[in-house]
Each structure stands twice: as structure tokens, then as C-alpha cells.
């Protein structure tokens, strides 16, 4: 028995659990990557975090980033799943095409998006806005557009993930529910609003929470597209942690405190998701029973 669990325990123990605990300890010190200093500073890092204007900006950016990534991705992913569910001819191809962004290499995609959103008036994005009479924009070099462009890449991929999950969620709606709706003549929008969406509520809760947790950890796209710039306007929490701990003065102690706070936020989100999810499942179960 123990032999079955040993390999996984070593892996998780050494490379996930122990590091998490070590981080929790280091978060209370002034450790840097290169320096020999390792002093217990208590809650100093935490108090620093509360008064760090760069962190405050990163938190604001992250909240905005999550909202403009997750909400469009969920809406689009749901719409596509509903549209694809009843496709019979070419269903495999339709699904394959819509699954593609999930498997994409984010770095490669980010490189292409950087090119699409180049400041050049002939780049694709500027060509398209040009049709509407808008003059060329320096998308990644402007503090008001850099974060939305990064979010667009995030939403592009996330919508595909959401699509996969909703497609699976749709198969859990009992056939009898659809048959009953047919008999009652409930179709179209009414059916979507009164039957399908309420029954999908547990899936929606799961998708929203999981997608938010994934989105909170966005790193590659920021690193490739903007390096957090210009002027920190696209620095997310995770990118800020990377900057703090692995560049500049390599403040590992402070970075660990920030990572710990992020972990707390993720756990709280997960717990909230579990509670709301349980409630949504109970409600959906009642709907089916009625």
C-alpha cells in the first residue's frame, strides 16, 4: 500500500508541499536570492505589502484583467457550446477547431498577437480599426490599451477551455428534461432561460471559479507582450511576484509573502466556489425533479 503512494508522495512532498511551507516561512524573512542575509522580520513584509503602491497597481490591474478576461470568455464559450451541441454534420471538425486554443503554445500565440497589435498603421489591428476611421493605436505601448490586449489573448484561450467544460456540462442535462420541454412546446430563448441555463448553473459556478484561478496565474502573455509595461499598466500580481523575486534586487522574502497572499486569495476563491457550487447543484437537482 505504502509503495503505491510513495512515488507520488515524494514528488508532491519535495516539490509542492515542502516548498509551500518553506515559502510560508521565508515570507517572514528578509531573504534575497543572492545575499547571505536571512533575518526573521515578522510581519514587516506583510505591512510593506499593504503600503506598496506598485502592488496596489498590480492588484487593480489583476482585478480588471480577470473581469475582462473571464466574463467574455464564459459568455463566448457558453454561446459556442450551445451552438455546437446540436451540430450533427461536421461535429468532430467543429469541436477540434474550437479546442485548438487550449492546446496552443501561449508564448507562440503571444508573439503573433504582438505582431497583430504592432503600432504600425498597417498591422492587422490598426488596419481593422482604420475601417472605422480610428487612427492607428500603439496598442502595447499605451497605458490604456496594453492590459486589454493581454486580456484578449487570455480570453481567446480561456473561451476554448470554457467551451470544453460547457460541452461536457450540457451532456449531463437529462434527456427527459428536453423531452418534457418539447411536449410543453418550450423552445428557443424561453427554453434557454428557463431550463438550460438554470440546469447549467453548477457548471457555470465551476467554470467561473476555475477560470478565475487560471486567469490569476497568467504569466507568459504578460512576459512576452508587455513585460508589465508601459509604466506598470499591465503588471499583474503574478508578474509582479516574478519581478520582485527573480529580477532587480531578488527580494525572495517579500516575493514569498506576496505569493502567500495570492495563495490565500486562491483558496478563498476555491472555498467560495465550493459553497456556491453545492448550492447551485442542489437547486439544479430540484429543477430536474419538478
Amino acid at each position: 500500500m505504502a509503495a503505491l503512494l510513495l512515488p507520488a508522495s515524494v514528488g508532491l512532498g519535495v516539490f509542492t508541499i515542502a516548498p509551500a511551507l518553506v515559502s510560508a516561512f521565508v515570507a517572514g524573512t528578509d531573504k534575497t536570492l543572492t545575499g547571505p542575509s536571512l533575518h526573521w522580520v515578522g510581519t514587516a513584509n506583510f505591512r510593506d505589502a499593504l503600503h506598496d503602491p506598485d502592488l496596489a497597481q498590480a492588484v487593480r490591474n489583476t482585478v480588471v484583467y480577470c473581469l475582462i478576461t473571464v466574463i467574455p470568455a464564459v459568455v463566448v464559450g457558453l454561446g459556442l457550446a450551445l451552438a455546437a451541441e446540436r451540430v450533427t454534420r461536421g461535429r468532430a471538425l467543429v469541436r477540434l477547431a474550437l479546442f485548438l486554443p487550449v492546446s496552443a503554445n501561449l508564448v507562440a500565440v503571444a508573439v503573433v498577437f504582438a505582431y497583430i497589435f504592432a503600432a504600425d498603421p498597417h498591422a492587422l489591428a490598426n488596419t481593422v480599426v482604420g475601417w472605422f476611421g480610428i487612427s492607428p493605436v500603439d496598442w502595447l505601448g499605451d497605458t490604456s490599451t496594453a492590459l486589454p490586449v493581454v486580456a484578449l489573448v487570455g480570453a481567446w484561450r480561456l473561451a476554448s477551455f470554457v467551451f470544453v467544460v460547457y460541452l461536457a456540462g450540457l451532456t449531463t442535462i437529462p434527456r427527459s428534461v428536453h423531452e418534457a420541454a418539447d411536449v410543453d412546446g418550450v423552445r428557443g430563448w424561453a427554453r434557454l432561460r428557463r431550463i438550460t441555463l438554470p440546469l447549467l448553473a453548477p457548471t457555470t459556478v465551476f467554470v467561473a471559479v476555475f477560470a478565475t484561478i487560471l486567469t490569476l496565474q497568467t504569466f507568459e502573455t504578460v512576459a512576452v507582450l508587455t513585460q508589465g509595461g508601459p509604466l506598470g499598466s499591465s503588471t499583474t500580481i503574478v508578474y509582479y511576484i516574478y519581478e520582485t523575486g527573480f529580477t532587480g534586487s531578488f527580494r525572495i522574502g517579500y516575493a514569498s509573502m506576496l505569493a502567500l497572499l495570492l495563495l490565500v486569495a486562491v483558496v478563498l476563491l476555491g472555498v467560495a466556489g465550493a459553497v456556491v457550487g453545492r448550492w447551485a447543484r442542489a437547486r439544479a437537482a430540484r429543477e430536474v425533479a419538478v
Partner: protein, 294 residues
Amino acid sequence: MTIEGESAVIRVQPVSSPASIISTGLRWALLAVGIGGAFLPFWWMLRTAVGPPQSVLGLSSNLIPSEVGFAAFPRAFDAADLGRALVTGAGVSIVITLLQLATAIPAAYAFGCLRFRGRTALFAVVLATLLVPPQITAIPNYVTISALGLADTRAGLVLPFMTNAAGIFLLRQYMSTIPVALLEAARMDGLGIWRTLRAVVLPLSMPAVATVATFSFLLSFNEYLWPLLVARSPDIATPPLALVNLVSASGGFPDFAQLSAAALIVSIPTLVVFILAQRRLAAGITGTGVGAEG
């Protein structure tokens, strides 16, 4: 129950009513936009890579390139040492995938098919590790790997990923649907724990194993943060890293055809694996296994 099985239901619907024609049209319009959006970045990679050379000073946004050539590909291979990067990336990802399967399968079997004290609590710990962001483990892992003398080595790229908690979870869900009677029968036949795993549980769990293997490969091939920290020398750059190095090397005057060719080359392995595996993936994720539970 797979997606395919469910959709085989024939629903009674008036086919020709105007409302249903409109809704069918809307559905296909939505799908067309979605599919176009999903393909756009890949198309843009391809058309820029095979199109005429482009620099910052002479961009074009034609959907179809004015002339087609493949000169950018060898240039990309040379400039970013992509051949070496692809070999490194594939090797590292395959080893990671095998290690993850080797650690996850026995654990999933224990959690899904066997009863022992502390099972629920231990499984909860495994699930809890899923919440730990990679950035929190990256710093201590970097210290560990350096202390082991593995910084800037392939082993250092592999080791921290030897276990995949999500893989354990997915496999356990699948294995727990194997009927108890089957496991009982194996025990009656005198099969021990390991032989039951090898002869009964593993063969039945192949769809889930394939799913986990595919995701392990995709995620490790596309991983960026860890190689960025560990692979300092260009010799062991993984494909995403090689691509970013190429971007940085080009400075303010990128050769877009070459960059796009490199991006396409880096994207191809995971796309191919994904396309080959995708039919199984749906079954592995949504299917609840062999038992009656589903």
C-alpha cells in the same frame, strides 16, 4: 456516457419553420465566427511565415500573402537553434509525462480502488496541492534544484514536474468507477495488489491514462516560467524559451516572417499531439469510466 452517445438522440422538431431556420443560421454564424477566431492567430503565423519578408517599416495585413515562399523556415531554425530546442523540449516533455504516469497511476489506484486508513485525508492533501500557485513553489524549487547541482540541466527541467496532482485526481475518478465485483474477483483469483493493477485496473483505465498523458505532454512542452528560471544556457533552451530568445535578439527590428515561422514551428508539436489525441480526450474527460456509476 460520451458526448457522442448523448447526441445520437433524435429530437422531434419541426425542421422547416422560419424560426428554426433563423436559429440554425444564427448557430452556424456564431460557430463560423468562433472557429475563425480560434484559427486567426495560427493563420496569421502561417501567412506571415510564408509571405514576403516584413519589417517594422513595411507591414501588410492582407489575409492572403501576395507571394508564397518558405525561406523563413530555415532562417528561423538557424537563428533560434530550433532543431536543438525541439529535441530538448520533446525529450524533457516525454520524460516528464512518463514520470507523471509512473507516480500517478499507483497513487490513483490506491485512492480509487483500495481502502485504507487516512485515505480521505491524504486525497484531500493531494487536491489541496492543486491550489498552490506555481510562483509559490518556483523559488524554493529553484533553491532545491541548485543545491542538487541540477540548475541549467535537463534533469533540473524535469524533476519538479515528476508528480501531477491533477493527473492523480483524473485517474482516480476513472478508476473508482471500476466495479468492486471485478476487483473482488481478481482477489479471489489470488492476484495481489500490484498484479490487479497491472492486469485489471490499468487496461480498463487506458482512456483516462491517454488523457492524462496528453495533457502532461502539452503542459510540459508549453511550460515557460520554470525553463525561464532554470535553463540559463541556450544549449538547453526549450522551444518557448528559444522563441523568446529570438524575439529579444531581434531587438526593435524584428524579422516578422522569421518570428512567425519560429512561432509556427514551436506550435506544431503540441497541435499535432492534440489533434491525434482529441477524440480520446473528450471521452477521457467526460466519460465516467467502465462502471455503472456514470
